[in-house]
Symmetry: C2
Subunit: 396 residues, 2 copies
Amino acid sequence: MSQPTENSPAPEGITTPAGFSAAGVAAGLKSTGANDVVVVRNQGPQFAAAAVFTSNRVAAAPVHWSRQVIADGRADAVVLNSGGANACTGPEGFANTHRTAEHAAEALGVSAGDVLVCSTGLIGEQLPMDKLLPGVSAAVEALAATPEAGMAAATGIMTTDTVPKHGARHGSGYAIGGIAKGAGMLAPALATMLVVLTTDAELDAAELDGALRAATALSFDRADSDGCMSTNDTVVLLASGASGVRPDLQEFTAELTGLCQELAKGLIDDAEGAQHTITVRTFNAASEADALEVSRAVSRSNLVKTAIFGRDPNWGRVLSEVGTTAAAFEPEQLNVSINGVQVCRNGGVGEDRSLVQFSGREVAIDIDLNAGSAEASILTNDLTHDYVHENSAYSS
Amino acid sequence: MSQPTENSPAPEGITTPAGFSAAGVAAGLKSTGANDVVVVRNQGPQFAAAAVFTSNRVAAAPVHWSRQVIADGRADAVVLNSGGANACTGPEGFANTHRTAEHAAEALGVSAGDVLVCSTGLIGEQLPMDKLLPGVSAAVEALAATPEAGMAAATGIMTTDTVPKHGARHGSGYAIGGIAKGAGMLAPALATMLVVLTTDAELDAAELDGALRAATALSFDRADSDGCMSTNDTVVLLASGASGVRPDLQEFTAELTGLCQELAKGLIDDAEGAQHTITVRTFNAASEADALEVSRAVSRSNLVKTAIFGRDPNWGRVLSEVGTTAAAFEPEQLNVSINGVQVCRNGGVGEDRSLVQFSGREVAIDIDLNAGSAEASILTNDLTHDYVHENSAYSS
């Protein structure tokens, strides 16, 4: 995800598949003057779409709106803004989302009922519509199918992200592209995460929905930065059919899953204040559900996360989290490895903890339940001074 | 819980009720030379006892031992050590707990099967028995029924605690005393918390058990510092009957509950790195269970806890946690007050957030679910740089 240099290939993203244009502009919602309004347009010939949303019951206005838009399986465009979540903003907030969709629809010559809206930023403040609507107009004007336009969109949805997240995959005769944002309030049933995925494959809405749910279950749903579930999470998949290729659905789902995992990794790699990306893998579990429960419990432990920040192979904190779960295991049969060193064996002291190296960003915690053959991983990050700093100062 | 000065009354604690002696000595388990081995002895004439333990399935050796000891409702003494949790230490760890109980029993002239053992400190290391056993002998030698001996016991169980926690209540002709430790890994189903409670009232083991469970449910079980459940939590209640008074059970339970709440407050007030003690109260709930679920979810949010550290009345983070629960409520009927200012009204913007004052240590978050008349509170603390520092450096 590095920036392209003069000789590097153009960055891949949502404009990599045929049939999509994008734009990101600065409308003044962010005080920094950075891009903050984004439009992604599906130019067809097909307009199938699917989306998954936060399961938070306190959902933002754009989530309520977009749930209605996606119900018929068609979307022509997505409007996204950073600089304000439009959550907990009451009827006025919903009216503002509605106005945004209508404004974009008019400029694009489509129906407002086919325009998805996503917002991200601080909760509980009304969006400055006097800035947002001109921004939408400017973004529609700037729409282009170029890599640069895709990158402008990737940067326009950033909040506390330090790098844009984007990527693409190439199937047999078709492509899938995507952009993502999210660095805090990241937790399953998604996160403060906005993701737009595009493909030029020919697929109907039901096929897209099935592929998207399968892909998010193995990617964004298994990224857990700080255990906090957002009000605004949205992952959208748009299909233009412009390649004229009807893909093998299994291949498509695999490629989509790979792209979503790459983007999810990008989110955790850039999580607020994090110095380590931690893969908590539970194996030899009686079921995948058991493995997930254990990995998730460990990945949410502040004591584990501060230990990793301190480069401390404190396996006791791992075991004490495993012990809070309902997974099948016997305490005296648990093994834990940290970065390949089996520091806990049979529920007790294993290899010398001083052998554990913390040289790189990646940390692997492997938990052997000795109770079966299933496994699952959760991707998380350490808890650092910078996380506390960023989140104690965010709204002030 | 301030230190006594020359003219202040003697501190109250586990030696306040008649029939108990205590001691705390330095045996060298702590590198600082502070007290680290404690014995509390019930001198009778009665020896009824009850205890509650961590529900963590990875329980420490002393928890396994003490569960057996308490099964018959009798305990003559408690041996406690800081400087090592004796958790995840395998058969050798259990044998060490057994040896500790036998060593103490011999010195006290009682049965090892009536000696409870509690340990606290780092997980995954064997206790230095060559220091611990002489420490137990020295503590038995030093047993006294004085306030000073009670204070030595209170300091002997401290780990990262900065102040000893102790207190007493006086019922109609009897007293209840207690000491407590615990500053991190504090979460319900108790915490890395060791608590010894004593009373000179005449009560049998079943009565003590009922009173203790009722009291802990409304005190230690509602203190949640960092969401991490320990392997070692133990709360013990010993009754000597030395007052000759058979108390009204309702009064006794109320007094015991009050003492436990005072000690729980002391734990959260001294939680690792905390600058604010936060009471998360949910009211107008459809049930107490709903109120508890909401208060607990909010009290475990790192984003809420960092916001309070930053003196930021960020009610959006409160609402987004409420939205993750299954409690009965309508999002547009939620109200949230922070330190008395209703910053969120009807699920949206309420009073001006700049009115919220964060002048003292106490912070009140009051959540109105508008769904009934039940309420419950959880006591927690903010997430600070010092928490990250202490917990990234603890074992190194």
